[in-house]
Amino acid sequence: MKAKAFKQPPALRTLSSLFIILWLFLAAFPFLWTLWGSFKVELDLFSKADWTNAITGARTIAEHGSAFTGNGYEGAWVQEEFWKAVINTALVCFFVVTISLTIGTLGGYALSRSQFRYTFWLLITALIFRAMPPITLVSGYLLPFFEWNLWGILPTTIVVLVAINQPFTLWMLHSFFQKIPKELDESAKVDGCSQFQAFRHVIIPVMWPGVITTGLFSFLLAYNDFAVTSMLLSKENQTMVPKIYSFLGTTQTEGNVMFAVAAVVSATAPLFVLVMFFQRQIVSGLTQGAVKG
């Protein structure tokens, strides 16, 4: 219950509410607009004549008989084989998250229980990797990959993404592990657990929130990456983001931007669901580094 003295005067209250509404509009409107527009034909979404066409779908009705059409989706998913890219993305994300978390939990646990102070160096590498554009590393990877004939396939990309992601994962899990008191391990060992059993049966169950948060961020990295995937994958193995980018090249000449719009909506939808379910974890993950300073 807030004290009366903290109550805002009505003028300030309206002002701040108006501001929030404006910001939420700015944040959400582009997505809603694109979602709505993806069911229209191109002449409606990009209307020269009258912008209200995009809402009412005048041209769409003229062409398809109803205000909504799934043509864009059909074109993207079936004709341009977007589903292949979706499967590739799923594979890449799955493996990147699993491998990062496996190495990250084991490594982070070991580091946090070790006597030597790795923290500083870990932090520094995590920081440097965060700061370096991934594409600078990609140019280093390309030539050896061409030489060894590893270019263009999914496993290579997964390995590279894991490597780029790893310092960050390690650092994040490490700070989660440090919050778990050492006494917990010790009491498990007193009860007759081996070191590994202590880790498996005592630490991991306590760790779930941290593991989920870190996993989310690894997932986002793999899902959102454009620089690495577009450079290291051949055309048949593309994931969603480079695929959408390649749509732009081919479809604009055919005058069918709607494929790309539909693909963009399809790629955004999982992220929406993700934010909806894991909002708390994302927020805590983002602030964790900050609040600790």
Binding site: I20, I103, P133, G140, M276
Partner: protein, 325 residues
């Protein structure tokens, strides 16, 4: 892990020192019925052999760093010598790809970062005063611009500001200029990219500041009120000092992120008006030719830039670390 961190950097540095082999030329004397003629042909076999033997190319030292595509030492000194005034010199610089990209990257970094911190702070303060049930919803929608894939987010906005899209249309109507196109002019393109940058990263600042506001000591706030501080004074003298460490943190992270601006340029197809260092690398790598050594040189320069940007932070972390021990 070390393997994947250290090796690519070494590989980048080595690659940047080499250039591709030139084709092996041969002078062949063709003697026909009309006398002998000397022709120069490319010896494909020898070229291929050379390329296979040394895939890196021939050693070029630092030449690539100084050529026209990168630091352009000759061109810069030339421009410096022939300059009439400073603006002339800067105009000359702007024609060199590296300095053009550098110009945009730095402008982008140093305008977006302060703007997004201010915007994020205002949103955080406003959301904090909302009713408990509305907060969750507000946070959900605020997170979206940040979580969405940068390329996709910029594409969505790009379609909206298209001269046939809704925002583009609205602007044309607002300025009653039916030929107005944001894509056509350099100034507008820069503004568009900066607005996108702020839109994309403000949620991050918001979330961090919002978390900071939750830990705000109520006692201090109350005592400041008893001392007669106005609402503005409370924010100025209590709230802002409390979240100052967070501002430094956000500024640091965002400086790094905005320095590597790349996806938005691709998404807005703004390469004609604005390029960044990352985009140059992407362009070098992606073309038909795969100019690996040129890309590698730019990468090294970018890494150096990042290092300069990071150095104050690294020094501070090192000092903190020493104190802790």
């Amino acid at each position: 892990m070390l393997l994947f961190i250290a090796l690519p950097i070494i590989s980048v540095v080595t690659q940047s020192l080499f250039t591709p082999h030139e084709q092996v030329l041969e002078v062949v004397e063709n003697c026909g019925p009309f006398g002998c003629k000397e022709t120069t042909t490319v010896n494909q076999e020898a070229t291929q052999k050379l390329r296979d033997a040394k895939p890196l190319g021939k050693f070029a030292g630092l030449d690539i760093y100084f050529d026209r595509g990168h630091l352009a030492v000759n061109e810069v000194s030339e421009a410096w010598k022939t300059r009439t005034d400073m603006s002339d010199f800067f105009n000359a610089l702007r024609n060199l790809p590296f300095y053009r990209a550098m110009g945009f990257t730095l402008t982008h970094t140093f305008t977006v970062t302060p703007l997004l911190i201010i915007l994020g702070f205002i949103i955080a303060v406003a959301v904090n005063s909302l009713h408990r049930h509305l907060k969750g919803l507000a946070i959900f929608f605020s997170l979206l611009p940040m979580i969405v894939t940068p390329l996709i987010g910029s594409l969505i906005l790009f379609w909206m500001v298209d001269s046939r899209g809704i925002v583009g249309n609205a602007l044309q109507w607002l300025f009653s200029d039916p030929t107005l196109s944001l894509k056509a002019s350099t100034g507008y393109t820069w503004i568009m990219l900066i607005v996108y940058g702020v839109w994309h990263s403000a949620p991050f600042a918001f979330v961090v500041f919002y978390a900071g506001l939750q830990t705000l000591p109520q006692d201090t706030l109350e005592s400041s009120m008893i001392d007669g501080a106005s609402r503005w004074q409370q924010i100025r003298y209590v709230v802002i000092p409390h979240i100052m460490p967070l501002v430094t943190f956000v500024a640091l992270i965002q400086l790094m992120d905005n320095f590597r601006v790349f996806e938005s340029i691709v998404g807005f197809s703004a390469q004609a008006h604005a390029t960044s260092l990352s985009w140059i690398i992407f362009n070098d790598l992606g073309g038909e030719t795969r100019a690996l050594s040129s890309a590698a040189a730019t990468s090294v320069l970018t890494i150096l830039g990042v290092a300069i940007l990071l150095s104050p932070v690294l020094v501070r972390t090192w000092q903190d670390f020493k104190v802790k021990q």
